[in-house]
């Protein structure tokens, strides 16, 4: 068996727009070990969630290629029935929005017992008790009562806990968490992250954590993969990424956060927008249009991920010549870039 729990190689997921397929996930390779948290970071539209959904085989109308080895077996080749056995079993997912992830017409206990029943983890007689235990484990007070509630009777934080309880019900080996705390307040976020960390320690599972919050990444991840326009542009251990970010996109992102050091000054702005799927230039460095002050020669024609330090991979050579242009925070240049993009009619969302 391979040393990795999950190994996705050259995963490409294309969506059909106006009769043609465009890759939203473009040749993505990721690896997750047991007991490791890999964070996948990027703006909306960068393909993070599409990657997660592809791993789970949840895309219905997309064309998916490449291979996804889970414990050495290619699960992309699985049929729907085999996939159903894995989903919610060995690989579980925590969805972003706890308001829509739960069935509004089912009691909490039935939603949890459903997954137990399907995967046959616990016998019927033991399910009721196990459900309560699960709810207790995710930190729900008075679990006996909450089990009898419907989702609308619970707060956002409680609902997300229920979603997590369902995800861990069958002791998954891999947990995919798609923006698990985005909809929540900071104090509840802290609790939920604690909880995921605890469970991961407990079960020794691998975690794929998808988020756009770099603070959450710094706290949770062992390794980080940064995605832009469907590609992974940088992979590094968490300390390395924050201490020594290389790719222009990573550096721009880190600089656009309000921080203590930057109080009172202008925030860095990444010019332009994430290109739309069907309007994207797939030749050369995809981030190039958003850093127009970097000369064209600095970019590669076919940017590849290259190892620059052990375990630290960067796409395209442009990082060597990159500097943050602070002179053009919000000015003529930005307007020009945007005007140009508008004329082309390409807008992200």
């Amino acid at each position: 068996m391979s040393e990795y729990l999950l190994e996705a190689n050259n995963l490409t997921t294309s969506f059909k727009i106006d009769g043609e397929y465009y890759p939203a996930v473009d040749d993505v390779s990721i690896r997750i070990r047991e007991n490791e948290v890999l964070a996948l970071v990027g703006e909306s539209g960068s393909g993070k969630s599409a990657t997660a959904f592809s791993l789970m085989g949840l895309h219905r109308h997309a064309r998916v290629s490449g291979e996804v080895l889970f414990q050495g077996k290619d699960i992309l080749k699985n049929n729907e029935r085999q996939m159903n056995r894995i989903r919610g079993g060995d690989i579980a997912m925590i969805f972003q929005d706890p308001m829509t992830a739960l069935n509004p017409l089912m009691k909490i206990k039935h939603q949890i017992q459903e997954t137990l029943k399907i995967h046959g983890t616990v016998r019927k007689s033991g399910r009721e008790l196990y459900t309560i235990e699960l709810l207790e484990k995710v930190g729900i007070p008075r679990p006996e009562r909450v089990a009898e509630n419907y989702p609308h009777e619970l707060s956002g934080g409680m609902r997300q806990r229920v979603v997590i309880a369902i995800a861990i019900a069958n002791r998954p080996k891999l947990l995919i968490a798609d923006e698990p705390t985005t909809a929540l307040d900071v104090t509840i976020q802290a609790q939920i992250l604690d909880l995921i960390r605890e469970l991961q320690d407990d079960l020794g599972s691998g975690v794929l954590l998808i988020t756009h919050d770099l603070g959450v990444v710094a706290e949770m991840a062992d390794r980080v993969a940064v995605m832009y326009a469907g590609q992974i542009v940088e992979v590094a251990p968490v300390r390395e990424l924050f201490k020594n970010p290389k790719h222009p996109y990573t550096r721009s992102l880190l600089n656009s956060l309000p921080s203590e050091e930057q109080l009172g000054s202008k925030l860095h702005v990444i010019q332009g927008v994430v290109p739309a799927l069907n309007k994207m230039d797939r030749e050369g460095c995809r981030f190039a249009p958003r850093i127009p002050w970097i000369p064209e020669e600095a970019h590669e024609h076919q940017p590849k991920l290259r190892e620059v330090e052990p375990g630290h991979l960067v796409r395209c050579t442009c990082y060597q010549d990159f500097y943050l242009d602070t002179s053009m925070g919000h000015g003529e240049m930005e307007k020009r870039v945007e005007a140009l993009q508008m004329e082309e009619g390409g807008v992200g969302r």
Binding site: S44, V186, L263, L267, G329
Partner: protein, 311 residues
């Protein structure tokens, strides 16, 4: 005239809970329960709290979108909270909404969206109107070509700027920004924040900035008020709130922010756990017998906290 553009005195907004056979009023939800805020001219006041703490309700009450149960709101020394329409005042107070995807009418063009307040308050000829809207679009950094486009043709950041253009169309004095960046990506968020600061300086705007993201609030605001269940638990300058928080709730809120500094992660988590423990043990002491937060008491000239009376 006082130095404060906006003064809120002991504002209460209670919503009735109806029920029973005759649908009578059974009880009240005390969404805002005795909040006093003063915002000096030209500054930004950050109102922070978790969802359900009443920060949006406070903002809406100032806008006149909620009925006020008790208390007064003074704008430029003029009382807002009384009966009767105050058209003149309401053109001076404008709002920027949270979600740029739902706060713009999808069936209207940018021109109509931005021109609407102008049409309401000023009699301009069509050509003047277009000119005015173009000026506003330029002001928020949108190209003239966007005039006849629909909201769906824009990205989130651009939409939020359309919202800002609409808000500043009438040269308001006070802007109430209700979570203006929480629906945006960090990169776009930076864009909108920079640009709001710019506009504020240029137009000498006063802002009530409602948010739950403390990092953003710290970046934008001179004064910060922390709300919990309809009441302020602490108020002070950004400096005081972040470097010298007094109330346990404020401490907990600040400790819960994930930091991108990887060196501090361990320490932060320890601190967070410690404060959480303290919070769980002692939070009850910070509430009076009705489970309400104590009234604010002054700690320094600008710093107030709702600490229990010792002794």
């Amino acid at each position: 005239m006082s130095a404060n553009l906006l003064e809120i005195n002991d504002l209460k907004v209670h919503f009735p809970i109806k029920g029973g056979f005759f649908n009578t009023v059974k009880d009240h939800v005390r969404a805002v329960d005795g909040v006093s805020i003063a915002i000096p001219r030209g500054t930004t006041y950050g109102l922070v709290g978790e969802s359900g703490s009443g920060k949006t309700t406070t903002g809406k009450a100032v806008m006149g979108l909620n009925e006020i149960t008790e208390g007064d709101i003074y704008f430029q020394g003029e009382k807002l909270s009384g009966k009767g329409k105050k058209i003149g005042v309401h053109r001076d107070i404008q709002m920027i909404f949270q979600d740029p995807y739902s706060s713009l009418n999808v069936r209207k063009r940018v021109f109509d969206i931005v021109a609407e307040p102008l049409k309401n308050y000023e009699k301009l000829s069509k050509s003047d109107l277009i000119e005015e809207v173009l000026k506003l679009l330029d002001r928020v950094g949108l190209p003239p070509g966007s005039l006849y486009k629909f909201p769906h043709e824009f990205s989130g950041g651009q939409r939020q700027r359309i919202g800002v253009a609409r808000a500043i169309a009438l040269n308001p004095k006070l802007i109430i920004a209700d979570e203006p960046v929480s629906a945006l990506d960090v990169s776009v968020q930076a864009q909108v924040l920079n640009f709001m600061q710019e506009i504020q300086q240029d137009m000498d705007l006063t802002m009530l900035f409602i948010a739950h993201d403390l990092g953003v609030v710290r970046h934008m605001c001179q004064h910060i008020g922390i709300m919990y269940q309809g009441r302020l638990v602490e108020e002070g300058t950004a400096e005081e709130i972040f470097n010298n928080p007094q109330h346990i709730y404020t401490k907990r809120l600040i400790a819960a922010i994930p930091d991108t500094n990887v060196d501090k992660v361990e320490r932060n988590m320890q601190l967070r756990r410690q404060i959480k423990e303290e919070y769980d043990q002692h939070f009850a002491e910070y509430l009076d017998e009705d489970g309400r937060v104590f009234p604010l008491r002054a700690i320094s000239e600008t710093h107030k906290a709702a600490l229990p009376v010792k002794g």
